[in-house]
Amino acid sequence: MITNERQYRITSTQLEKLKTAIDTFDIKASTERTKSKILAKAEIEALRSEYENLSVQLHEYETLKSGSVEILKASNLEELPSILIRARIAKGLSQRQLADALGLKEQQIQRYEAEEYASANLRRLADVARSLGLNISEVAEFRPTSQEPLGGKNDNLAWDQFPVREMYRRNWFEGFSGSLDEAVANAEELVKEFVKGSLDKPVQAAARQRVRSGGSVNWSALLAWQCRVITLAKKEIMTNKYNQRTITDEWLTKLAHLSREENGPKMAIEHLRNSGIRVVVEFHLPNTYLDGAAFLLSDGSPVIGMTLRHDRLDNFWFVLFHELVHIIKHLHKGDIESIFDDLDAKADDIEQEADEQAGEILVSEDKWNTSLARFVRSEDSIRDFANELGIHPAIIAGKIRKEANNYIILKNMVGQGEVRKLFPGTNFS
């Protein structure tokens, strides 16, 4: 982040240089020189990415300096330091002027801002906020949203926390033909009707749910999403009833092999449906951080909900198998009946088991341990290994990226943009 005029000038110069470098970049010459189209592309992409990054910083500083920004809001406490810096710039105060106001040296403010106030104590933060005339009531609003489990208070739905506008936009209020304003005005009634229409009982007891999440979840949005998935699931007429004994190793291997097919995700859903497992694809709602979920309908039949939050083949297959493991091993009527997963979050107990078993079904530990692809990490070696296992290369590439904790590598191998397009009936925007 740019915090003073000096940095602004340096960044502006850098940006100009980068622009010239991008404008004069000769991809053909670079390809010849590096003997690789990929490396040549990487060079220009690196320049563009740096350009974009610096442009954003420059633009933000200019906007703040222009005085056009009057309101700065933070949604959590971690954002406070950034707000303090931006508020100073927006007020047209230099670091020295703020330092003078606080009786400190200019260098102290420079240090604070460079480290985003990491070493400042609460009193100092409060002093800075006061000097900048920050509205304390705004600071008081920095409390996180409620972390109550879904329907923790049963009938007492926090209906005002439901994303009513988004639900309206997605046409979730069936039978309601009013305008958006009317939907907002009648939100309580609409939400209650919506929830009641999909859940047979008001809401599930908290003890029967598991939620794996790395973010601050909007529980009402999560419940809304589940209700929607249930509504869609119930519309599907199933010819076969789910029986756990049909899920054999052979059945699972066949499912994994479907990943090789161009239309693999759709075929997999059909494969599950033939065995009595419903799969519903519904894009997640804001602040739900959801990849997928597994739960039981009131008659005990299993449903997998998938958001396709990440539009990548590796993610699709891993989430699908993860939720399938939950269905096979962890969901029991009267015990755990719903599991919601943000697979980017840390795993424990049953989550770890589902991660491990999903991984094992797709790529067995034995083969993985000594597979060349794991070490060489080249596209060729990944394709060879995928062929040997009879699965899509994206699954191997995804596993390598996860192990390396590096999501920049093998970007072209993970089937980016290959999943959502198979579900044209679902709105992913």
Binding site: A21, A29, F375
Partner: protein, 362 residues
Amino acid sequence: MNFDHRHYIPCLRWKQGEYQAVALLPDTIKCKFTPLIEVPELGYDFEERKEKKTIDEHLARFPKRVFDNWGDSPCFVDLNLIKHDKLLANGTHPVRFIFDKLQTMPCQAIPVTGLLRDMEYQKEIKAVSAKDGNGICLRITIEQAAKGTLKTQIDSLLSTLEITPGDSHFILDLGAPNFVPLDGFSMAIQQVVSKLPHLNDWQTFTVLGTSFPATMAGIKKGGEIVPRHEWQLYKMLVADLRKAKLRLPIFGDYAISPSQVLDMDPRLLKPNATIKFTIDDGWYIVKGNNVRDYGYEQFHGLSEHVLASRHYRDSTFSWGKEYIRKCANRSAKRGNLTKWVQVGTNHHIEKVTQDIASFYAS
């Protein structure tokens, strides 16, 4: 050529720092290794937006630089970094130009080829091999080696070159892979080695690879140890291959350089002053500030840092190690980046030959 698996093959891009490092090694060390010399890439001038030199200018001094610094001992010479379709102004193929000159020096240079070199290249390799009689060297990547079609491809190439495995050297090039977990990788390589065609017939057999960082960007300032995974892997691989009763390979690495050349625009780069000091199972990398803004004087301080560390106190002696001591005491010049490649490479080769001797002595 008379050496077994206790030998050492460092792959060196033959630039000033590298060849001057080799030149300063004593004969007692020189007899313990055979360099795989790569003809450096034709650099690119980003300001002029063209190659820095013509291919004629670029290659002109190379043969003499091999002879002056390595003499007439055997060495492998690879033109993999030179574009295959580049010919000299008079139409001569670079392979022919280089080896004709090397022969007249005279150098015992063994030409290196691989599966993906074009037919013109192979034709020239065949001519060199027929004329010099030093044999050839096949440099095969681990991925190529893992394919079921390898034997067919190799036999076809040897037949084209009219040469037998017994007159050929085999280098299994791992490049710069992910080495971890080492035991899994060792097993994976063992599986590949067990299926290598003519394994017992090749004149020499080497496994080459590196874990040297591709850039210094991820190294923190001050001192940091980077593991030499290739050496740790080699020791594990030897144990695995011994158990499986398979031929033991020669150890090969890329000394203190990454395996890939990433030719970035120098105007966008600000290289830091670094000393790469090879230690047991690792490199002790001491990094300072960028030399553009902070100059080269910092090498005195970085040398002091290395000298004061426990890593300096091992038993290896080398010209490079001594230079660090002198630089710390201000009795040697601070040098430039090339000088520190020379220092690091010189010490590295000395250290690795000692590592290999100790490993096989135990």
